[in-house]
């Protein structure tokens, strides 16, 4: 069992009367890679800046290994930040940028030289020490920013959307590199992003935030496969949400639900069920099976869009009642001609047991608008 390193308790913050963080509690474990995920304005950046010491909570405490940091200025906190757009000092060389933090600690010159060289070697920039930041590419600047932050051997590294300025390919490379660094250094990483794919692929745990409130805290797999609520379900990954109605609860931990007039048998969810209750049946696009129109199973619809994605074929199917269904299917090696024509009639089904049930929520319509970010 990992130890708690940084403990946030009851953090509350308002800007101009608007609550950005609302009595938030979170324990960050020693050595983990934890990601704060959410749309812009969800409070993730404020939370990170609070850990770094650039913002002060109106209420609540931050403790690191039992020591209260709530009112400690940033320069006295044993944690460092990798900034969005890097914030490299433009008037200093790469070497001086990385050495800055050690100079502030008044380390002996030899030690500074050695540690800066090590840090630069770690990010494969030994040969660039004399360059100025503007002479480096975006990816190189990113590495300098990381070296500058880790050279002080912080207990915790805060990363504020560090990859958002890089192009797609470089971002993938840096994701792998960051994971490698985190493993080698054994430092706790707190990573902020609005990119759910990035969050899922890199983290040990993901914190899904909305309006300053934690929606879900769990492993990437938990967050993706068993979202705690509709917001998480919609924000993380592509989602089909079908309306269902409880037909009856069975004795054997299953429940029969009416979906599009089909009686399907699902695993009983954690929440209480009544007969006749409305609920949401969550199915990821890859859970959907697209069948030939003459099959008996499933619901009738027709293909309105198809996107060839290389390893998968993604399609949009309109059911007869107008519901839109996203389906993502792997290519069948045995069927090279596997494809759809637009307007082709099909039937949509899924494997029972792969679904996830969520209760009906009040006032969910406005949320949909804020999920796009």
């Amino acid at each position: 069992m990992k130890q708690t390193l940084l403990s946030l308790s009851n953090l509350t913050k308002q800007f101009d009367g608007k609550k950005v963080l609302d009595s938030l509690d979170l324990d960050i474990l020693d050595g983990e890679f934890i990601t704060l995920l959410g749309p812009s304005g969800c409070g993730k950046t404020t939370l990170l800046r609070m850990m770094a010491g650039f913002e002060h909570p109106d209420d609540g405490t931050i403790t690191l290994g039992g020591q209260d940091l709530t009112h400690t200025p940033p320069e006295h906190r044993p944690l460092n930040t990798v900034f969005q757009n890097y914030a490299l000092f433009p008037h200093m060389s790469v070497f001086d940028n990385v050495a800055y933090g050690l100079k502030m600690e008044k380390r002996p010159k030899d030690e500074i030289n050695q540690r800066v060289e090590e840090a630069l070697a770690m990010v494969q920039l030994e040969d660039f020490a004399r360059r100025k930041p503007h002479q480096l590419s975006g990816g190189q600047q990113q590495r300098v920013a990381i070296a500058r932050a880790v050279v002080k051997r912080p207990k915790l590294l805060l990363l504020d959307e560090p990859l958002s300025a890089l192009d797609y390919k470089l971002r993938r490379t840096m994701q792998v590199e960051l994971k490698r660094l985190q493993r080698e250094l054994g430092i706790t990483f707190v990573f902020v992003t609005h990119d759910q794919e990035e969050a899922l692929s890199m983290s040990d745990r993901v914190v899904v935030l909305k309006d300053g409130v934690i929606q879900q805290l769990g492993t990437p797999r938990e967050v993706y496969e068993r979202p705690a609520n509709l917001f998480t379900a919609r924000f993380v990954g592509e989602t089909n949400l079908f309306p269902g109605q409880v037909d009856r609860a069975n004795g054997d931990d299953t429940v029969t639900v009416d979906v599009f007039g089909l009686k399907r048998t699902f695993r009983k969810p954690d929440f209480e069920l009544r007969e006749g209750q409305q609920l949401h049946v969550l199915l990821r696009p890859e859970d959907i099976r697209v069948l030939a129109p003459d099959e008996a199973d499933g619901v009738a619809g027709k293909v309105v869009e198809r996107n060839y994605k290389g390893s998968t074929l993604d399609s949009v199917i309109h059911l007869d009642d107008g519901t839109e269904v996203l389906a993502s299917e792997f290519f069948d090696e045995d069927d090279p001609a596997f494809d759809y024509r637009l307007g082709e009639p099909v039937r949509v089904s899924w494997v029972d047991g792969w679904e996830w049930l969520l209760p009906e929520e009040a006032a969910t319509f406005q949320e949909e608008a804020s999920v796009d970010a």
């Binding site: 010491g53 320069e75 000092f89």
Partner: protein, 256 residues
């Protein structure tokens, strides 16, 4: 339209702009006393310039005034620009507007209002009154120069410095000031030149105890021609040219 027409036009206007300056420089080496005919090469006007004790004193006075006015206005202007950039406070728009009005006001309006003030508070007209007046009209130019630099300044830099262990003072010394240094230098040079060149305001707020160069020149050129002025003008021209090139060099070097 041919491309030579616009170019020819540019050349003519530049020619007219520079003709008086060239005449001035050439005639500063003219031996003739009348100042209109060529009388051969000579250094005599430069010599008589430096033998004129009142003139040399006015030169030093002007130089000292310009140095101090530029320095004070850069200090206050830079701090003001920082405050405008960094803080939210009531009256920010009024402050901005006031600086803009000072910059746009006809100098003579500023001049008489300051004269009225100095007489009211009983300030002896001299170095102090000149300094206060010069800093006042240089201030908005420095603020604008520094603000322009700060507007391109990454807000995360000071935070990065704090994050790496610098306190507010060390951050200011090691990050903020080096980054805005070119603007400080440019603002200082602008203030220095504005102060050295000013006639209008100085006419009103200077006293007999502290004679400065522009006023000395003014009293010389009002009546007739004084060949020493050619020599003095040439020296001032070379001086400003060096200053201007210095500032351009600093600005382009910092832009890299």
């Amino acid at each position: 339209m041919s491309r030579w027409l616009p170019r020819g036009y540019l050349a003519i206007v530049y020619g007219l702009l520079y003709a008086p300056i060239i005449v001035l420089v050439v005639f500063s080496f003219n031996d003739s006393r009348t100042g209109y005919e060529w009388g051969g090469l000579s250094w005599r006007w430069y010599e008589s310039l430096f033998n004129n004790r009142a003139m040399v004193e006015a030169m030093w006075n002007s130089l000292w005034l310009a140095l101090s006015a530029a320095t004070v206005s850069t200090l206050i202007g830079a701090l003001t620009a920082l405050a405008l950039h960094r803080y939210r406070f009531r009256g920010k728009k009024v402050l901005n507007g006031m600086l803009f009005v000072v910059m746009m006001s006809p100098e003579i309006v500023l001049a008489i209002s300051l004269l009225a003030l100095f007489l009211l508070v009983g300030l002896q007209l001299g170095y102090v009154s000149l300094l206060l007046a010069h800093v006042t009209f240089c201030l908005p130019f420095v603020v604008i120069t520094v603000m322009a630099r700060l507007s391109g300044f990454d807000e995360r830099l000071p935070e990065a410095a704090r994050d790496l262990g610098a306190n507010d003072f060390t951050m200011t010394r090691t990050v903020l000031i080096p980054v805005i240094m070119p603007a400080l230098l440019a603002g200082w040079l602008l203030g220095f030149t504005l102060s050295l060149d000013d006639v209008v305001v100085s006419t009103f707020v200077s006293g007999p105890s502290y004679e400065i160069l522009p006023l000395r020149i003014y009293s010389m050129v009002r009546v007739g021609l004084k060949p020493e002025v050619n020599a003095l003008g040439t020296l001032l021209l070379v001086f400003s040219l060096v200053m201007l090139m210095l500032s351009q060099w600093i600005l382009t070097r910092s832009k890299q």
